[in-house]
Subunit: 204 residues, 2 copies
DNA sequence: GTCTATATTCTGATAGAC
DNA sequence: GTCTATCAGAATATAGAC
């Protein structure tokens, strides 16, 4: 009787290569934009000829798909680190907002892949889309714990955060002009949905 | 003595061709995305061989530049039609918000060119950038007339509108899920900056 | 101002040897 | 699983005739 090994070294190696390829694609995307990712350059970075990449991804869009899933998985992890305190709903909202804001502006290409349709031919697979839903679910859970439950209120919240991020990236890239408005946005939102607690900032 | 003609028919014809080319580029951008615009296809639409386009635009980016200027000129015109009533500041803000929101979601490609960096190699010329500043100036003038003057308040306002547009395009394309939140956004904003007037919507 | 011809380079993807 | 060879095509841009 031969004991089966409890680790599949071949599968591990394969997965490591997949991650290397995705990492190379991220490098290019961060440097020259999402659309600049080419199999040629990905291959050059990982030390492969372009056709060899097809042993690991069935198409270029499959690479984008893997990146999409990674991006939202990262957002979910970041949001999971936020520990809301129901006794301090406004503080908790601010921490959640800052967490997602900082995660987003840290990598424009990643944010564009996650939330903007900059790649006309790309649509996430069901598996990748599920990752985005997982991250959204984390955010919803966080909001529930501080007392925000109505879906219209959640929509309002996502719009506030998306707007701050969008403006920061478009009109003050690398700065803090909109990031520093987050406490005010949280107060506005908290007042609008009836959350208790002291204001984070003085009124005017 | 020979009277000079008071119309330069040649210049008019030239300008008309320029507009035809830009129009063709818009058609492609709307159908397949901004990055899908190629000289080949633009030429096919206007009935020219690709090299002939260089008689009217010095490069492909010059075409994007013309589109950028047109887009912001259109936004300025749309905003100019808004007539704010200082006695009804909230109503006025709502009309302004709806105007820019509708203009934006009516053409995703146009919005991406105006406000998102989806073309890595494109940067607007000073002339085109001035168009965007003109539209922003119209918005600022509108806000001034209803009593919003602090620059931090203007930043807050642009973030709210950008957020609603961004979410509408990303998560409910073609729908009204975020558009119908505009009255609430206006109330939130008006309360935060101390504008008088009755709420547009009941509180909850 | 438009054309033909061409330069140069790049693209994603497939076939088949090793 | 990686390679070479290749496909089939597209890209922007320039030169020079008409």
């Amino acid at each position: 009787m031969t004991a089966l090994p409890n680790r599949d070294r071949r599968a591990e190696r394969r997965e490591a290569t997949r991650l290397e390829i995705l990492d190379a694609a991220w490098q290019i995307a961060r440097r020259d934009g999402l659309a600049a990712v080419t199999l040629r350059e990905v291959g050059a970075i990982v030390g492969m000829r372009p056709p060899s990449l097809y042993s690991h991804f069935e198409s270029k869009n499959a690479i984008y798909d893997g990146m999409f899933a990674q991006a939202w998985a990262g957002a979910r992890v970041a949001l999971s680190k936020v520990e809301p305190d129901p006794k301090q709903p406004r503080r908790s909202l601010l921490v959640g907002a800052e967490t997602f804001f900082d995660f987003s502006v840290a990598d424009v290409a990643r944010y564009q892949l996650m939330s903007q349709a900059v790649l006309p031919n790309f649509e996430p697979s069901p598996e990748a889309y599920a990752e985005s839903q997982g991250a959204y679910g984390r955010m919803v859970a966080l909001m529930h714990q501080v007392g925000v439950r109505r879906s219209a209120d959640l929509d309002l919240w996502t719009a506030l955060i998306a707007g701050a991020i969008s403006q920061q990236l478009a009109n003050d890239f690398g700065g803090t002009r909109w990031r520093q408005q987050l406490p005010r946005l949280v107060d506005m939102f908290a007042d609008a949905v009836g959350l208790p607690g002291p204001k984070l900032r003085r009124t005017r």
